[in-house]
């Protein structure tokens, strides 16, 4: 174990040196100071309880399910106050209802026009919404609200029941609408 860690450290240092020669300026070379190894091991259960990231390949999506109809009802009681009826017109930004899309003088940035992944909608709703009571929705409710928001944007039909399988079948209209500047720069620097 110790040797493995040393190896990793050496690897990390060589990576750093590689980066350093490209990025860092002459008076800004950082070394990796050795730490006192005080970290406490986390159990698999502890990690699982805290891990709420949902990736665009579906990793992190939990068990559970919710329907468009259930989502509509949750939306009426918990979301409408800020986001308005039909995802438009409240104090928060529009979620749906775009008619013109992203080009032109008044681009309409909504879930349907802009968001590239449905997984993001699940991740964000679960971790941050509703703003006045974040963390209060259970996984079934988050699936339901996600389903309703996709329905409002015309992406899924009314009968959908969303779960970790059906969510991954959803293709967002703007999935190819992004240019990854970081990757572009990396390619250029190669």
């Amino acid at each position: 174990m110790y040797i493995k860690q040393k190896m990793i450290k050496i690897l990390a240092i060589s990576v750093l040196m590689l980066i350093g020669s490209v990025v860092a300026t002459e008076d800004q070379q950082f070394s990796i100071p050795e730490g006192p190894q005080l970290g406490q091991p986390a159990t698999a259960e502890e990690v699982a309880a805290l891990s709420i990231n949902v990736f665009s390949d579906g990793r992190g999506l939990p068990e559970g399910s919710g329907s468009v109809v259930q989502g509509a009802s949750i939306y009426q009681s918990k979301c409408i106050v800020c986001h308005g009826a039909g995802g438009l017109g409240g104090s928060a930004e529009p979620l749906a209802g775009a008619k013109m899309g992203l080009t032109g003088e008044w681009p309409e940035k909504t879930i349907g026009t802009l968001w590239p992944y449905a997984t993001t909608l699940f991740d964000f709703t679960r971790r941050s919404m509703p703003m006045t009571a974040p963390g209060s929705l259970n996984n079934d409710e988050v699936y339901a609200v996600t389903a309703y928001l996709l329905y409002l944007n015309g992406i899924v039909d009314k009968n959908l029941v969303l779960n970790k399988e059906t969510l991954m079948q959803v293709k967002m209209p703007n999935v190819d609408g992004f240019i990854n500047i970081y990757e572009q720069k990396k390619q250029k620097n190669k």
């Binding site: 990690v47 940035k109 993001t120 991740d123 240019i179």
Partner: protein, 457 residues
């Protein structure tokens, strides 16, 4: 303005170095010349005037030979110092969601500050759902995912780790966003460009902690998460984390303020503010970014084509004139110091040029040293205003050769709906009566200042 005094009796050696009265930057090294500091005249003046008029009778009674504060003992010592009551107008400007007051930003008053270090209480704020009041005894950092050992680090433990100090700016990706609008904002500088601040940060190199958990070969990204009500998550490339990122515990010598991430935050030098995750409690190592809301539908820049730039990450070079200030008066013709701030997410500021004739001619400004990579650099330029219309601009070039663009160029490349990453040259028009106003172009109508937002918020 009637009081155009003859204040221009300057030594003959002071020949202009560029149009409309820009003088040699070495002027300030010469002795025996008196300068009017524009910052004082133009921005501190309103509060001083207010104080003076409130107590104008009292003022008359103050004995200039032995003023009252020399006739009685002063105040006792204090546990924690605060600014003079005469400086109570030097404040951040919060602009938040009316329904959720912790969702928004507060702007740093750059136009009222000097030097390069932002006082902790005036550092800009951007919160998505308020400032959590975290008890450090109940706050731990978990590092997990593609690592050899998944570990928790308590604050007490982290306090024993080797530290490094680094002075660097943090700029919100949405700073200066009103400049995408059709009409130029007339607010004082900081209240339209002050989502940027610069501090001396102290913390633990992330590389130290990552070495301890043992990063697996497949890992490429860190996904950091804050312990605020938003539980905000953001993806950061592993290369950057291993290069110069840190887990910051101290800001300008004291523990972080709650609004800056107490008890700990990430510091990702030179990159978008939102990546400097405050109140950080969890870092997941992954082979891919998480595609969080704040790296897909926000903090991405929509182009005229309908495509959006994502993972722009690095902040481009920018410079701003902090004095004189838009919507204030230059008191009279004469000798002044134009000053401002420049910075670049790529490294050091190489030079700052100033123009007083709308970019026809430029002269290199003096830079206060030392020049620190990815940190504020203060520039200064002597200027003799002759009382005629002038157009002031500043333009930074960084050590990579990147030159700050004109607004026309930036808008031609990006359109007006990108919202983030606005870094164009700013133009200040000085009118004959001394009124200073922010314009996009010299020919803009000075009264066109419709403050409504039209560039998509």
């Amino acid at each position: 303005m009637s009081k155009k005094k003859n204040t221009n009796k300057l030594p003959n050696s002071l020949k202009p170095v560029a149009g409309n009265g820009l003088l040699d930057r070495r002027l300030f090294l010469q002795k025996g010349l008196t300068f009017t500091a524009l910052t004082t005249a133009a921005t501190v003046a309103p509060s001083v005037i207010a104080k003076a008029s409130e107590g104008s009778e009292k003022q008359a009674e103050i004995d200039p030979i032995r003023p009252p504060w020399m006739r009685q003992p002063g105040k006792p010592f204090s546990f924690y110092g605060v600014p003079s009551p005469y400086e109570d107008k030097v404040v951040r400007l919060p602009s938040a969601n009316s329904v959720l007051q912790g969702n928004g930003a507060s702007w740093s008053p750059l136009h009222q500050l000097e030097g390069t270090i932002t006082p902790n209480g005036l550092h800009f704020e951007r919160h998505h759902n308020g400032v959590p009041q975290i008890d450090p005894e109940h706050h731990k950092l978990l590092i997990h995912g593609l690592v050899e050992k998944e570990l928790f680090f308590s604050i007490d433990d982290l306090m024993r780790y080797p530290r490094r100090s680094q002075t660097c700016f943090i700029e919100c990706g949405g700073n200066s966003n009103s400049s995408w609008n059709k009409n130029a904002s007339k607010s004082p500088l900081g209240y339209s460009h002050g989502l940027v601040s610069c501090s001396n940060w102290t913390g633990i190199p992330l590389s130290t902690l990552l070495s301890e958990v043992g990063v697996r070969k497949k890992a490429r990204w860190l996904i950091a998460e804050g312990a605020d009500a938003f539980a905000m998550n953001m993806s950061i490339p592993l290369e950057k984390a291993m290069d110069d990122a840190m887990l910051a515990l101290f800001q300008n010598g004291e523990r972080l303020r709650p609004e800056n991430g107490y008890p700990m935050r990430l510091l990702v030098p030179g990159w978008e503010g939102v990546l400097n995750v405050k109140w950080v409690r969890r870092i997941e190592l992954s082979d891919q970014p998480v595609m969080a809301r704040n790296e897909t539908s926000k903090y991405t820049e929509l182009l005229p084509s309908g495509k959006s730039r994502m993972f722009t990450l690095e902040m481009d070079a920018k410079s701003l004139i902090t004095s004189p200030v838009s919507s204030t008066f230059i008191p009279e013709p004469g000798l002044f110091q134009i000053t401002g701030l420049a910075w670049s997410g790529r490294g050091k500021v190489k030079k700052v040029e100033v123009s007083a004739d709308n970019g026809e001619t430029w002269a290199e400004a003096a830079l206060d040293g030392p020049i620190i990579p990815k940190a504020f650099t203060r520039f200064r330029m002597p200027w003799r205003w002759d009382g005629k219309p002038a157009y002031l601009k500043s333009r930074v070039t960084d050590e990579t050769g990147y030159v700050q663009p004109e607004r026309d160029e930036l808008v031609a490349n990006r359109g007006r709906h990108g919202y983030f990453h606005y870094n164009a040259i700013m133009t200040l028009a000085v009118e004959e009566d001394g009124f200073v106003t922010h314009v996009y172009k010299a020919e803009d109508d000075k009264n066109s200042g419709n403050l409504g937002i039209d560039a998509d918020w």
